[in-house]
Symmetry: C2
Subunit: 192 residues, 2 copies
């Protein structure tokens, strides 16, 4: 289950409590994996039971207790095994392409306005992913800064470059979608 691996990958940078993890995922629609709070807490408990992470109660002030989770050796091993394994691709379920496949059944104007909203949404993602890519290249995200503390300085550029490249890929895919949507607008207008 990928949420577990997303959490392991984040916790490898530094220990965090559930609230911090929820905030990280909330702030990360431009990231590669989304998860609502309702999934994060139960998954953390399962992962703790499975020995992938370890919770430690943290006392703040006089009463507030939060559980801070850190990755265990076993969790690190599980993450590395998953990373090095080729996985069966997820089944193709592309809701927007499904919608576009039947655009001939509605007025061209309505189809065009759906396409324009899609273009705006993809362009927003491009802006956010591009900014995130640049922050990674500049080694200027909170998580990357923490993570690099435990890595040899000689590897910092390569690590930042590999991570930034993932978001360059997201941008390229979103750009291919925008180009396709513009071509669809042209085709829709053509035949009316």
């Amino acid at each position: 289950m990928s949420l577990q691996h997303a959490l392991l990958g984040v916790l490898e940078a530094r220990p965090m409590n559930g609230y911090e993890l929820t905030r990280f995922f909330d702030a990360a629609p431009r990231w590669v994996w989304s998860a609502p709070q309702s999934q994060i807490y139960p998954t953390l408990r399962q992962m703790e039971q499975a020995g992938l992470i370890e919770g430690q109660k943290e006392i703040r002030g006089t009463r507030l207790k939060r559980t801070v989770y850190s990755i265990t050796e076993h969790g690190l091993e599980e993450l590395r095994t998953w990373l090095g394994t080729g996985h069966t691709p997820a089944p193709v379920r592309d809701s927007f392409s499904l919608q576009a496949l039947f655009f001939d059944m509605i007025d061209a104007d309505r189809a065009a306005s759906v396409l324009k909203a899609y273009i705006a949404e993809q362009e927003q993602l491009i802006t956010e992913w591009r900014a995130h890519r640049e922050a990674l290249l500049a080694k200027d995200t909170d998580l990357l800064k923490e993570r690099l503390k435990n890595r040899p300085p000689a590897e910092h550029d390569r690590i930042a470059g590999l991570k930034a490249n993932v978001f360059a890929g997201q941008v390229a895919v979103a750009q291919a979608r925008v180009d396709w949507a513009r071509e669809s607008l042209r085709l829709l207008a053509e035949g009316v």
Copy 2:
């Protein structure tokens, strides 16, 4: 729920029984929506209860009965409403990008072999989508042939062109992924 809309879109071409629909979805990993048999049958029953489709028992030979489903006026209206509405985009959950984001944690050789398997899988999709696109442009898929029987001949080229363009988009996205994966291979090799 998109499976309902996928089923409505397919049944708009012609009435089909559950077995034919299952075969359609089984043969369609290169399509835009995958669904296992275990989802198709219960969804058809729900859709029948909701009046979106209508089942008719078909007697074949002396005893075999199959329910043949056709789309109702209400189903057609629901499909058109869905098609003309901009929907909230699905949350970003890109399992492969998540994996790639942590490639710095494993040997470059292992990461490279995962990337190579990914390239092969995307290239396979490209081959299938490209073939499907050409079959649509040639108006030579079973479903499109059925569908065009109920459309004015003057619209046939436009309908085929719009549908084919959806698969041109799928090809472009998969190609962007392949290009990205090749760049990642280069980056992985560079720093070792």
